[in-house]
Symmetry: C2
Subunit: 351 residues, 2 copies
């Protein structure tokens, strides 16, 4: 900790511009990053927090642990392919996996709204239990709070996880370098569209199901095979576009991707057109990008494709040093365009 910390009474967010919190401050885009970088990081400044990874990596007497937290506020609580409960398990398991850790222990904090049907809670608790078993994590401590009717929205869940790092591979945005290949483990957009379809009452022949899944096993297989994984990121709020922008900025590199290489299933593409959404910005809960050296591409694709969560894995782009901080894409019709960080709130309360 620093001793010269400045107890400025002045709010670091310009109050004339943003006097109140907006939905977009939680959307995974520019406004959220602004809030984190201007308010939270300077207040709690320390080296672990500054790393701005999906979790903190702690060294405890020679043991390396990953530690990560997420609150889940998805609406509705139950949706095709999942519930807020399994999302709360998988999301935190995935953040641990993105640090290269084996997820071990989770905590769960429940904020219940007075009036929540008891059976709904029971259904969600059961789905959490099954998700924890699938992801091989133990839920070891918890907390329950209840707020008055009208002061919550049924149920919010926080899960915080501890995982152990059992290898010497350093996985971080600053390890991304020109020449790196970018691999994606499957089609994008299903989680966000599953939620939006329920909210907007869209009907499909067969409902689009969330891709919610635990990614730790897939990542551990890469690491156990000795792959030098440079960086990992799961594609949650703000989707693929926001994840790539975060890494391009944090790593000081230029990322270029090929639209034609990115799988999007037909129903998702159709729903995106109806809803006016770009699949690049739609949230996923079982998708990741891996940054690896160019000579490892074939081995990683082979390992990923042999895993149920990587059957449709693809090489989607490359890292260059052309325009550090920028993400560009060659579109399906061959035009080149900039892929910006999401500027506002595309899909509120998607996770």
């Amino acid at each position: 900790m620093e001793s010269e910390r400045d107890f400025t009474p002045q709010c670091p967010i310009p109050l004339t511009e943003y006097p109140h919190i907006l939905l977009a401050h939680g959307g995974g885009g520019e406004l959220m990053h602004h809030l984190i970088e201007k308010m939270f990081l300077p207040a709690f400044r320390n080296a672990l927090l500054d790393a701005q990874h999906d979790g903190a990596v702690l060294d405890l007497e020679g043991i390396r642990l990953a530690f990560t937290t997420d609150s889940y506020v998805v609406h509705p609580l139950v949706f095709p392919g999942g519930t807020i409960g399994d999302l709360a398990i998988n999301g935190t398991v995935n953040d641990l996996a993105m640090c290269g850790a084996r997820p071990l222990f989770l905590s769960a904090g429940f904020i219940l709204e007075e009036g929540l049907p008891m059976e709904t809670l029971w259904h969600i608790v059961q789905s959490m239990q099954r998700a924890a078993e699938r992801a091989k994590v133990q839920l070891v401590t918890g907390d329950t709070k209840v707020v008055d009717k009208g002061k919550g929205d049924g149920l919010f869940i926080n899960t915080t996880g501890i995982g152990i790092i059992e290898h010497n591979c350093l996985i971080a945005p600053h390890r991304v370098q020109p020449g790196d290949a970018i691999l994606l483990n499957g089609d994008i957009g299903r989680h966000g569209i599953a939620i939006m379809a329920v909210r907007e009452g869209l009907a499909f022949e067969s409902p689009i199901e969330s891709d919610t899944a635990p990614l730790a096993d897939l990542v551990l297989q890469l690491l156990q095979a000795g792959i030098d994984v440079h960086c990992l990121r799961d594609l949650t709020r703000g989707g693929l576009a926001s994840a790539l922008n975060e890494i391009a900025r944090a790593g000081g590199v230029h990322i270029h991707i090929e639209e034609s290489a990115i799988p999007v299933c037909e129903d998702v593409r159709g729903a995106c057109e109806i809803l006016g959404l770009d699949p690049l910005y739609v949230a996923n809960e079982g998708r990741l990008v891996a940054f690896i050296g160019p000579t490892d591409v074939e081995r990683v694709l082979t390992i990923m494709r042999a895993h149920p969560l990587g059957a449709d894995a693809r090489l989607i782009g490359r890292v260059t040093d052309d325009d550090p901080g920028l993400v560009t894409m060659t579109s399906a019709i061959g035009a080149r365009r900039v892929v910006d960080m999401l500027s506002g709130e595309q899909l509120p309360r998607i996770c």
Copy 2:
């Protein structure tokens, strides 16, 4: 994990009696324990969770860690003596301390309601930063979500903490035994009454301030002095009465306390009379009870009284084997009565 786990579709809470969540399910009393024991513990069954301590104690390659979570939903967000922010730091630090751990790292998950004034958030973040510095913990990872206006209540905060256990003393309810002395580190009821006074518009010559404070340093001084601490519990939701009932049940012992030995400041006593509250059930955020062997009483009182957070420490009672599971009290006028677990919701959203 067990393989024969029963995926019963039947909700374990009787739906005819409790079809919906009530405020009392979060109040720290009977209904909350019922929900935890009937629904959460069976679903996630494992030895660490079953210990029902303030946190889980994890063994990681020979290193013992404490791990604990709490969500904070206190209303109002700012009150005499504190904010939801320093409460979120101190509360989780104290849960780690109750495991005998040195608090090291915290995560913070913010659930913001659209429309929260930016300056309020800034004020709270600053109070968290100061509380973290005072408690010597680092906030190393975080998460921010925003919910639509009317679906939250300004701000909820989850903090989850990791501490390290650097001694061989086992601190747990089952170590409490007949003959043990029960020590309290100061006057009770100030936190709950500080909150209620704001809510009810009670005026005092000088406002009653919350006792919110980090208790880890006080606990570590006892352990460093080699005191064999049998059990510790901080007196949050449900107050002293609920904490003692939890330990009497979990430890299978009878606890007897002396009302005249329990310090309650005059303003708190007066406010309790006006509000119809019993100070034994009012929440504290800087108070604990310690269960120790009878020969350690003088040493512990000396150490506590030399610490700013234990200046008014007292011996308040004894453990016996008369009526296992029961808590009784000799009142100020000499009558003996049973001190029950809180049955409903005395003070909603007090932490």
